[in-house]
């Protein structure tokens, strides 16, 4: 594999127009007949498939260069057009030129002085190295200025107005200009005047924008396909060129025979149509040319444009070898760094191994096994699919030739070995929205046909197992493997560069499990403890925390969890089960929601989402930051296994009876809801009587709506609270909601209490029928029920009208997500196109490929968020505490820090600003 760097740097690219002369010069043959093949299936001379244009059939030779199929690149031909036609791609240019030059003398419609001024400006900009957009801006201004003039300053001819009738018809004061007339005018423009338009006359004479000869692309560009039936099917471009040729022929005959002007003009226009659609079959203003089947033809522009076009589909994106795709499924036993690969995939995916003296023996052994070795002990044994000789020839290894090939293998050969455990591969799930969408994993070849990975890695890929598929790529060079291992390994991405917290961490049952393991004084007997600890492969059981009188030994969950913590870890924070906003330590301790780890021992608190969860896990965050990614990987692997052990010991289930609440509570909820409805009714009546007090900045109607929303919202919350009172921490649904494993308390209160007000665009439902939502209500009814308040709970079931309202609200959500994803996808694409070439240089500046500075320091502070602590490079408090040991009151400070949040406060900014001003120049006055 040649590994040369860039040997040449492109300095500039120059675009030019093809002159008719040049077209004829580069043409291998002139094309005159619309027929392609004769009866024997051979290309007709001077036809569209002329063998001077290249070869597409194996065995034949190109008549121009003598090359065979893969040797001859193809050659262009040309069609001489009977009458000139306008090139659609240049109509804008032509229009500009026609409008700003004189109709009779062809000069630029500016005085010599004006023209020189613009020219000077242009030259000055060019000298300063202005980019093409700035220069074309000046050229545009020149044209604009010239168009203003009604009379030619050189020959004093009065100018008439030129309009463009889309797509290709020019009119002068209403009557048509033929392409021939247009061409004649363009021919008259002197070279010197063209320079003012930023047109280089040597490269692009404007009359070349009106075609007199049409270039025919080589057959290799438009190969014909032979169908199974033996019929030939031509490429769309060939079809289009046939049309052009036919009309061209008829036009020539008619013109030469002296046919009436009208007929010639019609044919001329038809020729224009065909040439136009040959370039772009989606030109607005004309119907697209269609295939016999009715499918629009795919012509030149369509080949290049858009997502399926040459650029986005073939040049920016490519199909690759050594990749696999299949359904994913979970496997909590795998490390976060691993990926389970099916045997079937491992047999196809290979790693090239260069044969050297040191590995000769083992490589020969691999080759000897052939492509499908039989294993002796049920383990996967890698084979070899191909052997590559130094001259680049590939030899397929089969069961038959394996022995002989193995004998011939020498140093310098390359052997393509199948995947084995420990190989580094890239694993990816679309849409690849951030860098964690593609990470490097270590292979574990496994039975069954899915890719498997640890559940903690779901969040960065945004993957679930409802049928998701993922891609896998095998790295093919030592350099790539090393780079991937250092930069792309899963463990290197535990902390996200987006917000500096962990994106990899416990989800769902991992969190529930660690809750069950550590909540309050949960304890486990000998059998349970050994079961849980066996999951992390611990050989020795720690001393029991407690022994009963009868000799039964107990281990606390907190003690078991502490086994996976680093021995010198100190941290304190509020658990997710703690009520929101509560800062009182006593209250938190009472709920076991104040987590305190001292010297690696969990002293108090419950381990839940705020400790080990993805996005929120504080312990995870601290370990990743202070102990490195290797330790963090180990912690995630072990803590998730512990959690699963705990949940297996305790058992966990949830069902609709989790939301069962006593009759008394149900009555209370109905009461609350009835009162709320009455209150709304009161408001409505007050509004009717005109007694409703108007809120500032709102109309009377809006006031009513706001009040109603407020009352009903409060009612739902109250219903939820009443229901919640009867749903305690022993309730599995509540455990899930409070610990952050899945769902929220709102979800629960909607199941047990009341679903609440449905809204579309943030307002109560109002549309449907005249002045009412449904015919079940009176016209103009503004009450709670009539405007989409759902009294029922999901558990009790909804009334028909409520069901309909709920569907209305639900639909809005669906539409929103659909619209949002497509719009944000496009935004993301544009953003990435703009930012893709930026990189941080060694001096800390952010620069683009042109080496111009974008930021003087990365992010203006030079801090990598994934390595910072809450936005600052160093956490001084934390370091102080570590160095000085535990100082009194550090607990309080922890609670305090939670409040202050991110970076500098506004107050800090003002102080700094004042200090700064003393050294700086006084702000200018006016």
């Amino acid at each position: 594999m040649p590994m040369g760097g860039v040997t040449k740097r492109i300095n500039a690219i120059k675009f030019a127009l093809l002159s008719p002369d040049e077209i004829r010069r580069m043409s291998a043959t002139k094309i005159i007949t619309a027929d392609t093949y004769d009866d024997d299936g051979f290309p007709i001379d001077m036809g569209l498939m002329d063998s001077h244009l290249g070869v597409i059939e194996p065995g034949l030779r190109c008549k121009t260069c003598g090359g065979k199929v893969d040797e001859c690149p193809g050659h262009f031909g040309h069609i001489d057009l009977a009458m000139p036609v306008i090139h659609v791609g240049y109509v804008k240019e032509i229009k500009k030129l026609l409008q700003s030059t004189c109709k009779s003398c062809g000069r630029l419609l500016l005085t010599r002085q004006q023209a020189q001024e613009f020219m000077r400006d242009l030259e000055a900009q060019e000298e300063l190295g202005a980019d093409s957009t700035e220069i074309s801006e000046i050229a545009k201004e020149t044209a604009k200025e010239a168009q203003k003039r009604a009379r030619c300053p050189h020959c004093d001819t009065e100018q008439s107005k030129i309009t463009l009738d889309k797509p290709t018809t020019f009119r002068e004061d209403g009557h048509k200009l033929t392409p021939r007339e247009v061409r004649e005018r363009l021919e008259r423009i002197p070279n010197d005047d063209l320079r003012a338009f930023n047109i280089e006359p040597e490269a692009a004479r404007p009359e070349w924008m009106v075609l007199t000869a049409l270039l025919v692309p080589p057959v290799t560009v438009r190969p014909s396909i032979t169908l199974e039936s033996g019929d030939r099917s031509e490429d769309d471009l060939t079809h289009k060129l046939v049309d052009v040729l036919r009309i061209n022929q008829r036009l020539r005959e008619n013109r030469d025979a002296g046919a009436p002007q009208l007929i010639v003009e019609d044919l001329w226009e038809l020729l224009q149509y065909h040439v136009t659609t040959y370039f772009d079959n989606q030109t607005s203003g004309i119907p697209p040319a269609r295939h016999r089947s009715g499918r629009p033809l795919k012509t030149l522009v369509q080949r290049l444009k858009g997502k399926e076009g040459r650029f986005r589909s073939n040049l920016s994106g490519k199909r690759v070898n050594f990749s696999a795709r299949t359904v994913i499924s979970p496997d909590p036993v795998l490390s976060i760094n691993e990926v389970g690969v099916p045997i079937e995939a491992a047999r196809e995916l290979t790693v090239p191994i260069r044969v050297q003296a040191y590995n000769m023996e083992i490589v020969k052994d691999w080759v000897k096994r052939g492509p499908t070795p039989v294993s002796t002990n049920g383990q996967f044994v890698p084979g070899v699919n191909y052997v590559i000789r130094p001259d680049g020839r590939r030899i397929r290894v089969t069961d038959k030739n394996a022995e002989t090939v193995a004998e011939t293998v020498e140093t310098g050969w390359v052997v393509e070995r199948q995947l084995v455990d420990g190989d580094i591969v890239l694993f990816n799930r679309q849409p690849s929205l951030h860098r964690m969408s593609m990470m490097a994993h270590e292979v574990r070849v496994m039975k069954e046909k899915t890719f498997r990975f640890n559940l903690a890695v779901c969040p960065p890929y945004n993957a679930d197992f409802d049928g998701d598929e993922m891609n896998l790529h095998v790295l093919q060079s030592e350099e790539a493997r090393a780079e991937a291992k250092i930069l792309m390994r899963v463990q290197e991405h535990i902390l996200s560069p987006r917000f500096g917290g962990p994106v990899i961490g416990g989800i769902h049952d991992h969190i529930t499990g660690s809750f069950l393991l550590t909540y309050r004084d949960s304890r486990f007997n000998h059998e349970e403890t050994t079961f849980i600890l066996s999951k992390i492969g611990l050989k020795e059981i720690p001393k029991p925390a407690k022994t009963d009188k009868d000799g039964t030994e107990w281990w606390t969950g907190k003690q078991i969890f502490s086994l996976v913590l680093p021995p010198d870890l100190n941290i304190a924070f509020k658990a997710s089960i703690g009520p929101k906003g509560v800062k009182d330590l006593k209250q938190l301790t009472a709920e076991d929601a104040w987590v305190e780890v001292h010297e690696g021992q969990l002293k108090s608190g419950t381990i839940d989402e705020n400790a080990i969860g993805a996005f929120k896990g504080k312990i995870l965050d601290k370990i990743a930051r202070d102990y490195g990614s290797e330790r963090a990987k180990q912690f995630i692997d072990e803590s998730t296994k512990l959690a699963l052990g705990a949940i297996m010991v305790r058992g966990f289930t949830t069902g609709i009876d989790d939301e069962d609440i006593p009759e008394e509570a149900k009555r209370q909820i109905t009461d609350v809801l009835r009162q709320a409805e009455e209150k709304v009714q009161d408001f409505v009546e007050a509004y009717r009587r005109g007694e409703l007090e108007q809120m500032p900045g709102r109309s009377l109607e809006e006031t009513l709506e706001v009040e109603a929303m407020k009352v009903l919202g409060r009612a739902r919350d109250q219903a939820g609270q009443i229901a919640g009172k009867h749903l305690g921490m022993e309730n599995p649904s509540v455990i899930m909601a409070r610990s952050g494993a899945r769902g929220s308390m709102l979800n629960l209160s909607q199941m047990a209490g009341c679903i609440g007000q449905q809204a579309v665009r943030g307002e109560r439902l109002s549309r449907g029928y005249w002045n009412r939502t449904l015919p079940h209500f009176k016209k103009g009814d503004l009450g709670a029920q009539a405007k989409g308040f759902v009294k029922s709970s999901y558990k009790s079931g909804l009334h028909p009208t409520e069901y309909f309202f709920h569907a209305m609200g639900g639909r809005e959500g669906l539409v929103d997500t659909a619209v949002r994803t497509s719009r944000s996808g496009y935004m993301q694409r544009r953003l990435i196109n703009a930012l893709e070439d930026l990189k941080v240089k060694e001096d800390g500046t952010v620069r683009n490929t042109a080496d111009t500075i974008i930021q003087f320091r990365f992010g203006e502070d030079g801090v990598d968020p994934s390595r910072s602590v809450q936005g600052t490079a160093v956490d001084i408090d934390d370091i102080l505490q570590e160095v000085l040991g535990e100082e009194p009151g550090w607990r309080e400070r922890m609670a305090e820090k939670e409040m202050t949040g991110y970076g500098l406060t506004e107050k800090d900014m003002i102080v700094e600003l004042e200090e700064e001003e003393e050294t700086e120049e006084e702000p200018p006055e006016e």
Binding site: D843, F856, G903, M909, E921, P923, P924
Partner: protein, 83 residues
């Protein structure tokens, strides 16, 4: 001029560097003029600065000191360009 944009709280401090200072800055950053971010001569800020310093030619450098939540004060430079 109706309004001095530099007095607006969202506009960071801009200061025109003397040619010597400018050379110093370029040397410090090890860049050429064209690698700096640009600011147009017609930019309201440059118009204000012109009231103080008189006409500012293309190629002069302006220092921008901006306050930032995370970075505190950060320094940036702009090359004055035409139009």
């Amino acid at each position: 001029m109706r309004f001095n944009v530099l007095e607006h709280k969202l506009v960071p401090e801009h200061r025109l560097l003397s040619p010597d200072e400018a050379d110093e800055v370029l040397k410090g950053l090890k860049v050429t003029r064209d690698q700096l971010p640009k600011i147009r001569k017609t930019d309201p800020v440059i118009r204000v600065l012109e009231k103080i310093h008189g006409p500012i030619e293309e190629g002069r450098i302006v220092r921008v000191l901006r306050l930032n939540q995370t970075a505190g004060v950060s320094e940036a430079f702009r090359l004055v360009i035409g139009r």
